[in-house]
Subunit: 211 residues, 2 copies
Amino acid sequence: MIHGHDDALADGGSIEQNWSESQRDIMEATYRVMLTEGYPDLSVSKIADELGKTKASIYYHYDSKRELLISFLDFVVDQFHLNIGEVANKDPEPALKAVIEKLIPTEIDKERFQGQVVLTELRSQASQNEAYRERFTEINELLVRTICDIIERGIDTGVFRDVRAVHIAEHIVATTNGARTDRVTTDREAAPAAVRASLLSYVDSELKQSK
Amino acid sequence: MIHGHDDALADGGSIEQNWSESQRDIMEATYRVMLTEGYPDLSVSKIADELGKTKASIYYHYDSKRELLISFLDFVVDQFHLNIGEVANKDPEPALKAVIEKLIPTEIDKERFQGQVVLTELRSQASQNEAYRERFTEINELLVRTICDIIERGIDTGVFRDVRAVHIAEHIVATTNGARTDRVTTDREAAPAAVRASLLSYVDSELKQSK
């Protein structure tokens, strides 16, 4: 799910948390190591090697691997924010469809597939790890709020029917989360496209005000 | 998600794979150890202790912990089959709603919560482990096929509109999978009930033939 992060970071400013350049470098390196090594084999040494720096230079910013990983999840939250923010400001109907399309891409390259593997692993840790759970709670909150806002904007402007926005937003977030996890944990390659098609047609039939 | 398995196993017969009594005992013990210890700390010794038997008696059935875990996932697939089969034979509309209600229970006790934690951990391994991925593929296939059959039955009998059954089945499975994973990986306690309500009302508005 972390994609287009170079562009996203390039425009700076809008990002929630302020990341210093070294912190960003560490986060980017952490992500690259996760992509190649996977989450279980991640170590501060490998991140340092990837950065071409010493372990001490990482421990200067983060007291422990644990702290670094929590910070990495904050970074992931910010990426979600940026990625979704990019499209959420369109008119309600195209905005909602664009968010769904972003959350369930029909095809993904190897890097994004691997990114999703990493996120699925991190998410599974969230059931045991409170700090992780807080971040995944934040990601879901953010997505539900963004989608809810779009739907409410649609209702206010008469494009959408007067539906229960929060229920539908929760529905859409659960569906897109399920589709993304299923993509990397099953061999059912045609499934994400079918889910996406059904969700987009749901927007048309359930939300759009009939003319 | 493994629930009501005692009842389910009691009626026997309908289960896909034939499990000998000792194999069932080992699977049940594996599940109990996973519930208390979590997946990462699972060991054959602990399963043997839980059973009150020797490790050798487990290795008599399974060559390795790896093989035992794959068999455990086959057992999970069978549980899904039994749990869903129980309700899928009703009339199309109540059957579809009962499947959704079973897949997104509004409240779950500690044991079922912990069972979902274990399944989420096992599922996250599926991206790296082909044998696991096959089992989760099978679970999703089974759910999609069951829901698709119900929808097609509804179309044939004129209860449901002539919709694209497979797209809607994929949509429902992704949504329920997402809701179940979100339940154990976030602190958003009200979310599953909202998703379930939205999905049930989707069945009414999208599928039901207007009278």
